[in-house]
Symmetry: D2
Subunit: 157 residues, 4 copies
Amino acid sequence: MADDAARDSAREGRAQRIADAVGHGMYARDHAARALGITLEQIAPGRARMRMTVRQDMVNGHDLCHGGMTFTLADTAFAYACNSYNRSAVAASCHIVFTAPARRGDVLTAVAEEKSLEGRSGVYDIAVTDQNGRGVALFRGHSRRLESKVVADEEVA
Amino acid sequence: MADDAARDSAREGRAQRIADAVGHGMYARDHAARALGITLEQIAPGRARMRMTVRQDMVNGHDLCHGGMTFTLADTAFAYACNSYNRSAVAASCHIVFTAPARRGDVLTAVAEEKSLEGRSGVYDIAVTDQNGRGVALFRGHSRRLESKVVADEEVA
Amino acid sequence: MADDAARDSAREGRAQRIADAVGHGMYARDHAARALGITLEQIAPGRARMRMTVRQDMVNGHDLCHGGMTFTLADTAFAYACNSYNRSAVAASCHIVFTAPARRGDVLTAVAEEKSLEGRSGVYDIAVTDQNGRGVALFRGHSRRLESKVVADEEVA
Amino acid sequence: MADDAARDSAREGRAQRIADAVGHGMYARDHAARALGITLEQIAPGRARMRMTVRQDMVNGHDLCHGGMTFTLADTAFAYACNSYNRSAVAASCHIVFTAPARRGDVLTAVAEEKSLEGRSGVYDIAVTDQNGRGVALFRGHSRRLESKVVADEEVA
């Protein structure tokens, strides 16, 4: 029993180190996320949490956060969550419902959770909320896994 | 008969001038679109065509155009098409399928067409292609019309 | 404090009786659900759980449960959940991902949960699983509320 | 030139005979479609047209055609269109917008068209209209191709 628990714990630690290495490696090359000031708050196997402040250059003709910017934040959290096992995965399709507008200065958080992973196909839900916890958007992404890895094995601590 | 044709022609001319005024007015305030170098190529009642060149700051950790940037281009064309009658409309939900990756330097064009407009509810299809005419994404947007106008009546030529 | 708790409890009891009356009233007129053998297992404010056994007349040309039948089960749970407050609501749009095939004889359960309700617009997630708890489909529905009621006030116990 | 035209014509004839054989073979085993009275009006490479009359056992608690029945008609047209090359394909995900209600006695037609086919991944648009040409629903399906065939080569005329 103690051995089993130790093994499980070691496996979880290994999975978390892989996720951390993927997050670190992806973010270093992720020009789009960095240009938008998106930060990676947390990554774990099948999960990610990211943050973005709505800037002046992110608002649209209605003076609201451009839906594309909200989508981009959610899509970024989706990408980190579905790549967290160090198996490259890409978005096949995404669906987003905008539940309330966001405004300049709002601090948006996107939390991605894995809902299904069958073979190469994954489904992830991403909830976007503002600094008051109000729901801004609900995003669902469908991913397809490729053969390649995200980071080299040596990059995993 | 000649009178009818003249009336139709006058109506179409008026609808086009409204669309032009909306396009001009929205674009002037659309910080997000301009920050991404998105240009408005054409606007007409229920339609819009926009263009964006994939820049270094739009690529992701796989060195491909970030899905959020492709979405933003399509979503922008959607917004201009569904606001083209000078009745404010917002995105309720959107669905996007990514059919091929885009790369840095690619010039993407998004063409938005109205598929349905019933009461306050509209459906618009946006096809995104690259400079070789290859399909990059298929976007479908569902809009809800509000009570307000996009531009003041005086802004219509 | 005791008064507050009593009031909350009374309110919850009232909301549950409304949901029960809606479930009872809708199901009595729901020819489609009954023709497919769909049963209402549970209804509560913003929630519903329904069940359906995959029959011979529900399989398609691949000898698998027709995606339309899986969708119909999920869509039915969605309808009961979004009408549970006795304010008529209709589906604006739905998105479904099929995660594993279902076969003749499988007993499918759809659980609907409210994810967002802002003004007239609601978002509901419905998970469909088989008798072994395996995920079959993930459905997301976007509802719009109308002015009418589902059942007359007298029908609420 | 005449040879090229003859070759093209032969190829098209062959593709159409394959589509016909797939349609015939699928429909014979398609218990769900036949139980709902769905008829196959036309099939061609990447395309299909199907019809269904809204029966009493297809209406819901609002006395309108159950959204699941409208979806099933569209999903069936999608299935025939994406299998028309005699390479088995299954639905990965679907999105539907309901644009107007249908009622008992309405005769619905679903027309499926291929919008994209890249590798194993296809996108199909299905428009559902009633007997007056009014739009009832807009459906978009995303398919994945499998290795198997739908009908044996001998079944192709």
